[in-house]
């Protein structure tokens, strides 16, 4: 969507469009934000809470036709307060409140007013929290506001101001793990801060004419889930309080003549993560407590009418989340590399860790056989990298096309695709990459990486989804099958038996190296036993057993 915007002033219509774009982009990335959520409670709902809050705010003006920017901003802030969910949602509502306070009586705003409004937004957000913690959405909001303020001193182009604000917000977001230990341990950036960045980014994208509105393909493609992360990281997120995380209680107090400051103090003595915001007639309460009866009882006794009461058991949420959370660190924060950067596709936390930590990939996009990343996903990864030259490793034959499309669509960067068809080919290509990056040209590097894949054979072990006879092999539905370089090569009852069979037909004793990447359904001891057994059967090659953590494939095997 392209909107004619005078770049110097913004009226209510335009603010509404900007706002819709921010919401759409946040909505698109909601799941990513959820998966980052480790603070204050790792219950994986920050993205959802912020989206719900934004939706409520937008609903308040969606059918408005008013060009008075002050009225639009005020209505949105009121809507956000009514709809605020969770810590991040409440803070977001206060950001909108602070923003609206400055615009109150204005028909339009310019860069300088925008800057003041951003500052007020950030200050209001800080006031919403009893003890502000840095390394959170607050830090990102403050950095963004300060940047807006600085640049607006000499720049009247609102688009430029917004872009600088966004860039600074992203920068502040990247640094959140340095400020908040739990983020560093989990290897993620702050989820609320990320949510705010997506809102600003959505606005900037609309101004730049990039897609933000939710068309079907974008919506259909949620961020993959289902991987598990390793236990050591999970342990760090266990509640410090031996009673667990307790309950998340939220409600609106309606009435008149509330003393907001007094009410806030009273709630703060009752629990933790307390947020109390509003005015004498309407107060939004968000609090974490062990006994939900306390805050609710207090509100009733204070003469309030309760509305929109939500009580959630955070301990249960945490446990559910812990069971299925995706460790997102590697996906979301690209690793800075010199020279050419590599964007690879892989599923499984072990595999992603391997590619980033050991093999120098800058970004690993989650995906594979059942979840093919789109060209858009590649483009996003490419654009998030500071490098001018990028190589894509699709690591699956069904993803090569999307990678090639992305390479064509990338603007301002030179992108090559090394058409790896399997993850082991991708690993071989990355080995060539770490040895040659920085000493040869992009095309030579891509050439060396492609050449290195020729000496690798891949066995993929999975379960047959239907009965099939192909390439002289018969497999019944539900049986274990092995694909050798994409062709059906064996079937049987146990993954280990099938692996032995296929390696025997390959005359694996002649190989130099066999690498066994075991999946999320295989225990380490089981994989080690298979490794030992293969060592006895095939005395020639070195055998390396690595945790890939990939779903659906008990084993991925490379033979070199």
């Amino acid at each position: 969507m392209i909107v004619e915007l005078s770049r110097r002033v913004c009226d209510g219509f335009r603010l509404k469009f900007l706002y819709a774009s921010g919401l759409a982009w946040l909505e698109h990335n909601r799941e990513r934000v959820n998966q980052l959520n480790v603070y204050p409670v790792p219950d994986g709902d920050t993205g959802t809470n912020m989206t719900l809050t934004m939706r409520k705010a937008y609903a308040a003006i969606s059918d408005w036709d008013d060009s008075h920017v002050g009225k639009v901003a005020d209505a949105m802030a009121r809507g956000a307060l009514l709809g605020a969910r969770g810590n991040s949602g409440v803070i977001l509502s206060q950001i909108l409140r602070g923003f609206a306070n400055v615009l109150k009586d204005r028909e339009v705003f310019d860069a300088s007013t925008f800057a003041y409004a951003c500052r007020a937004a950030s200050e209001e957000a800080y006031r919403a929290v009893e003890k502000p913690v840095e390394g959170t959405i607050l830090t990102v909001a403050k950095a963004a506001a300060e940047a807006a303020y600085r640049v607006a001193q000499e720049e009247s182009d609102l688009q430029v101001v917004l872009e600088v604000t966004l860039a600074t917000a992203k920068d502040a977001l990247r640094r959140t793990p340095e400020q908040l230990d739990i983020l560093r341990k989990a290897g993620v950036v702050d989820s609320g801060g990320q949510g705010l960045v997506y809102i600003l980014e959505g606005m900037a994208r609309m101004l730049q004419g990039e897609p933000v509105m939710l068309h079907e393909t974008l919506l259909a493609q949620d961020v993959p889930t289902g991987d598990t992360h390793d236990g050591t990281w999970q342990d760090k997120l266990e509640p410090e309080d031996e009673d667990g995380y307790g309950y998340d209680v939220q409600f609106l107090m309606r009435g008149d003549n509330f003393d907001v400051a007094q009410v806030r103090r009273d709630f703060e003595s009752m629990g933790w993560s307390t947020l109390v915001v509003g005015d004498p007639s309407l107060i939004k309460v968000h609090i974490h407590v062990h006994n939900p009866a306390h805050p609710i009882g207090y509100a009733i006794e204070a003469g309030a009418m309760l509305d929109d009461v939500v009580v959630e058991n955070m301990q249960l949420q945490y446990e559910a989340q812990a069971a299925q959370r995706v460790k997102k660190d590697i996906d979301d924060a690209p690793v800075m590399v010199d020279g050419v950067a590599v964007v690879a596709v892989a599923a499984g936390d072990g595999m992603r860790k391997l590619m980033v930590r050991e093999l120098g990939a800058a970004v690993v996009i989650s995906g594979g056989q059942t979840m093919n990343p789109s060209a858009e996903d590649f483009l996003t990864a490419i654009n998030n990298l500071p490098n001018d030259e990028v190589i894509l490793l699709p690591n699956n034959k069904n993803i090569i096309l999307a990678a090639e499309q992305a390479a064509k669509l990338a603007v301002g960067k030179t992108v090559r695709v090394v058409p790896t068809r399997t993850v082991p080919q991708g690993v071989a290509a990355l080995m060539a990459y770490i040895n040659a990056n920085g000493s040869v040209s992009l095309d030579d590097l891509a050439g060396e990486m492609a050449a290195s894949t020729h000496s690798v054979r891949t066995i993929e072990v999975t379960t047959s989804t239907r009965s099939i006879t192909l390439d002289d092999v018969t497999a019944k539905e539900g049986e274990v099958i092995a694909l050798l370089d994409g062709k059906l090569a064996g079937s049987g009852q146990s993954p280990e038996g099938v692996v032995e069979h296929v390696l025997t037909t390959l005359n694996a004793s002649q190989a130099e190296l066999i690498t066994l990447y075991f999946g999320d359904a295989v225990r380490e001891a089981q994989a080690s036993r298979l490794g030992e057994r293969l060592g006895e059967l095939f005395p020639g090659p070195e055998i390396v057993v690595v945790r890939g953590g990939q779903p659906l494939y008990p084993y991925l095997i490379s033979i070199e």
């Binding site: 391997l354 930590r357 050991e358 080995m431 190296l513 690498t515 070195e542 690595v546 070199e560």
Partner: protein, 284 residues
Amino acid sequence: MTFLKIKFVTDSVADLPQELVDKHDIGVVPTFVNYGGQSFADDGKELNRETFYDDLPSLPTHPTTAAPPPALAEEALQRAAESADHVIAIVTPAKLSTTYNSFRIGGSGLPSNRYTLIDSGQVSLGMGWQVIVGAEVAAQTGSVEATLDAIQRVQHNQALYCALLTMEFLRRGGRVSWAAAGIGALLQIKPILQVTNGDVLPAARVRTFSKAVDHMIELIRQQAPLDKLAIIHSNNLEGAQHVKDTIADILPVDTHIVRVGPTLGVHIGPGSLGFASVSTSWKA
């Protein structure tokens, strides 16, 4: 110009074979390996260099290594100075060890016009070859200036690479930051290290040791024609012999197979294979 008598002192990290030490009357100050609550001088006597590698993987705590104290350096330098007009000490790089500092302090009693201290920027025979060429040129020319010039030209025409069987020991040793980060552990990557200007760098990373050795042989060939070659190993004589046989066509007269001493051995672990070469171009 008067013909000066010049003597050389180095430290045991140079891995100089005894025959060369004797031939050129070189002073060797031992470095130390500490483990099991004891400190052993790496002088070929206190530590059995062969059995040390057999024991290394199973030692309950990983050994640490230490530079010689200044007093030991002083003693060796003084002894050399008694029968020489000038003493040149070539030692382990300051970036890797405080040996250089011990030699600086230990030599402070000698008049500065009679003592030259050189940071070799190298280890093992990479450092050793600088000493040997220096001793040869000194014996021929009797000139400190010509000798120092020759040493500098060797430094610019030498190479040292080593293929490690595992990154584990380099990581445990903690002196090489990129190795300490644990990179390469998951895939059991075999690194080929290069030592240059006192830096230990990853020259290449490959998946199998035999590929690493092939790659290293290629690197030796790139250095030809050779004036001097040491094939160095940490208890991998068979591998060293294989390398030697493979490059029979380019072997210089001065070729040695040398077991790396325990001080370096602590950091590279058993089974590793490498080489220290000087190309003939140093003479040009």
